[in-house]
């Protein structure tokens, strides 16, 4: 075995002190099958896509400052918000937490040396990159103006944009999702360390498991949908064309059969991350572990049966709408269970407000706001009133940006010391977290009001009475953009000038903290010791033990120990 490894990696991987030093050539990164390096590759590509998608929407928000739109043409405006949606959904949000944090952490958290299929893992990154490049090519070659939903018959028969390339790019990226999902499921089933049963998996691992099920079972339907668009547009096969008796609603059903579960692809891993953050910084075992598991599985499952709530005004059967409305209320129950359990975990905890915890607490609030407004939209009469308005835009940005992106940043800060072996500036990190929370609400809260007053989404021009809300939103977006630019600066700084992190700077309980920071190529030099319980902090109703002091004190002690050991 070791011979084989040494032969594959001329740099002497087995002897390298950590994964970052296991080869410094470009090839050693681009051909690496180490899940940690692949996570970094994903991290780089999603950052680039995030910047592209963010830049597009910055122009849109600036344009919306004035009611008549002065800087760009209607056509460009349509192409920019489409670009924003397509890139952010498929090339940032979907791969964000699962493929960066999940890829890096799942094997570490279950005590495994790597993923079950390391080559497939690398392949999934290349597939994702190829899909992204196709989509970007569509934008360079003239852009797409359909919105990220590609609704027919506009997308297949009328749009002059480069729908074909974009849809094909999304089609390809889907296989990256499926490959990752298969890989995670196989890894979690087969590579758990001896003694780690299903009911003591960290909830982050559970969340990745649940999300992988959704990826594997929902993504193929998106692939088919995109394929049918390509067939209709390129080969002229009338599938949804009403002139031949085709049904555009069929497209919407197929599209939302994927795209509603896709929302859960974005939010479930965020829930997993936040559970790790809150337990650690409240020094508390999670409240109601089993129900947290059931809730996630329930969300993944019921998430497949609510897609019709996107189509209340499409002309679908009112009975269908009734059932979809009911099921959309049902799915709020497990979501609410999670929110209550997070707050109950905080109860009598020893809470400290490090940057990751600020993101975690921000998540709980923003997710709750986004979830509750989701209930407004699930009830048909309200939806008829606010359908396709900024109310919807605000709602899903509370979930996707306030929820998923907050959790992504929280997780990134929490595990940064493990990933890079360096500590960042806590002051800057807290400042960025607070600024992000403020900027986010400043951007999106006015949109709730705007939508409720009747401002439709995706419009380039609007009546002057809406201007004040649009200006607030744009001003908030500038704050938000500034807040997003801070972490790359101080995190980047920490890589070169940061203090060395100990193995476990937060005094957290997961297995990933038992190995060195950054971890060695095969994760553990000696098998990690499984603690008695998952979330081995002080239990419900018990006074904190002496060794459960705040993370920072534990950190300084740990650092003294490291120094003493030297």
């Amino acid at each position: 075995m070791t011979d084989a490894i040494a032969a594959d990696h001329p740099q002497g991987l087995a002897r390298a002190r950590d994964y970052l030093h296991a080869g410094s050539t470009l090839r050693s990164w681009l051909m690496s099958t180490d899940h940690k390096r692949i996570a970094i590759l994903y991290g780089i590509t999603i950052t680039v896509f995030f910047l592209i998608g963010g830049a597009a929407i910055t122009v849109v928000r600036l344009e919306l400052v004035s009611p008549n739109g002065n800087f760009i043409s209607d056509d460009t405006y349509n192409k920019l918000f489409t670009l924003h949606g397509v890139i952010m959904v498929w090339f940032f949000l979907i791969p964000s937490i699962p493929n960066t944090l999940g890829n890096f952490l799942v094997p570490l958290m279950i005590g495994a040396p790597d993923m079950a299929f390391p080559k497939l893992n690398l392949a999934s990154w290349y597939i994702n990159l190829a899909g992204g490049l196709f989509t970007l090519a569509a934008l360079v070659a003239g852009g797409v103006d359909t919105g990220w939903t590609f609704y027919t018959p506009y997308s297949t028969m009328f749009s002059n944009g480069n729908v074909l390339l974009a849809a094909f790019g999304v089609f390809i990226a889907g296989f990256s999702s499926i490959a990752s999902g298969v890989n995670f499921i196989a890894t979690i089933h087969t590579l758990r360390i001896a003694g780690m049963g299903w009911m003591r998996l960290p909830l982050f691992v559970w969340s990745i498991y649940a999300v992988s099920l959704v990826m594997v079972l929902a993504t193929p339907v998106l692939a088919v949908t995109m394929l049918l668009i390509v067939a209709e547009r390129w080969f002229g096969l009338p599938i949804f064309d009403p002139a031949h008796g085709g049904d555009p609603l069929l497209f919407q059903h197929l599209f939302w059969f994927y795209s509603h579960p896709a929302v859960y692809i974005m939010i479930l891993p965020a829930m997993g991350v936040v559970t790790e953050l809150i337990t650690c910084f409240a020094r508390r075992a999670v409240f109601g572990y089993t129900f947290m598991v059931y809730a996630m599985v329930a969300i993944a499952f019921i998430g497949f049966f609510v897609w019709g709530h996107h189509m209340f005004v499409s002309g679908q059967s009112p009975y269908a709408s009734l059932i979809f409305s009911f099921l959309s209320f049902v799915i709020a129950v497990p979501s609410a269970i999670k929110v209550f359990n997070w707050t109950a975990t905080l109860y009598r905890g020893q809470i400290s407000f490090e940057a990751p915890m600020l993101y975690g607490l921000g998540f709980v609030g923003l997710f709750t706001a986004g979830g509750l407004t989701g209930l407004f939209l699930a009830s048909i009469p309200v939806d008829v009133h606010v359908h396709d308005t900024y109310f919807v835009v605000a709602h899903f940005h509370y979930i996707m940006v306030g929820g998923s992106v907050s959790a992504f940043f929280g997780g990134l800060h929490f595990w940064w010391p493990k990933i890079t072996g360096k500590l960042y500036s806590e002051t800057w990190a807290r400042f960025a977290a607070i600024l992000m929370f403020f900027g986010f609400n400043f951007t999106f809260f006015p949109q709730f009001i705007l939508g409720y007053l009747g401002m439709p989404r995706r419009y380039h021009v609007y009546p002057p009475e809406f201007q004040i809300y649009h200006e607030m939103s744009t001003l908030g977006a500038s704050v938000l953009a500034a807040a997003y630019l801070l972490p790359p600066v101080y995190l980047g700084w920490s890589m070169f000038r940061g203090t060395r992190a100990g193995d476990n700077p937060w005094g957290a309980s997961g297995l990933e903290w038992q190995t060195s920071s950054p971890p060695p190529p095969r994760n553990f030099r000696s098998p990690p010791a499984l603690p008695d319980t998952v979330y081995d902090y002080h239990a419900q109703g018990k006074a904190p033990a002496a060794d459960q002091a705040s993370p920072r004190r534990r950190d300084s002690e740990a650092r003294q120990n490291v120094d003493a050991a030297r």
Partner: protein, 211 residues
Amino acid sequence: MTESAAALREPWTSLEDQRRVAMFGMWTFIASEILFFGALFMGFSVVRVLHPAAFAEAAGHTNIWYGSANTAILLTSSFAMVMGLRAADLDLRRLAALCLAVTAVLGLAFLIVKGFEYKDDIDKHLVPGQDFALKAGAAQIFFSFYWGITAVHAVHLTIGIVLVSRLAWLLMRGDIAMRSPQFEVTALYWGFVDIVWITVYPLIYLGGGRS
């Protein structure tokens, strides 16, 4: 290096575990594929319910002889695949190679028959568009699905042929361990592509109301 060690891949330490997880991974992927084809079949069925008469008429214009011949060819290929798998289990290298080669050849035969069928369809103007042969509007949708579904199936089959031929080639050269999990995984995939056809066949060819 022993033969088993040659088949072993990272991060596994035992071939048994590796085989188990490879099969598990392939089953998971097949679950995904079922949703892929399921969406196509669902779309087909929805439009069929909306326009039963047009679909029955259009199905009458498919060539049932080609379809039936291909069904027989594909079922036989699966038989050869399973024989090959069994031969590999029993360490009969040459027999395994032969069976896999037969499997690949039958897969290829399927594609060739399909090619003749496509040519016939084109000659009979059954490609949706300006000079489509049938009057009913929804007949065009039937043939859209016909081309779409059979083409996607053919792509899957082509991937299968490449995988099986590769294994047969490696077996003949003696470059692969007999206990490699690749045989079982490939056989599973081949079986799946076969079963998809078993669904496609009645859906497309048998809906024409022929007596």
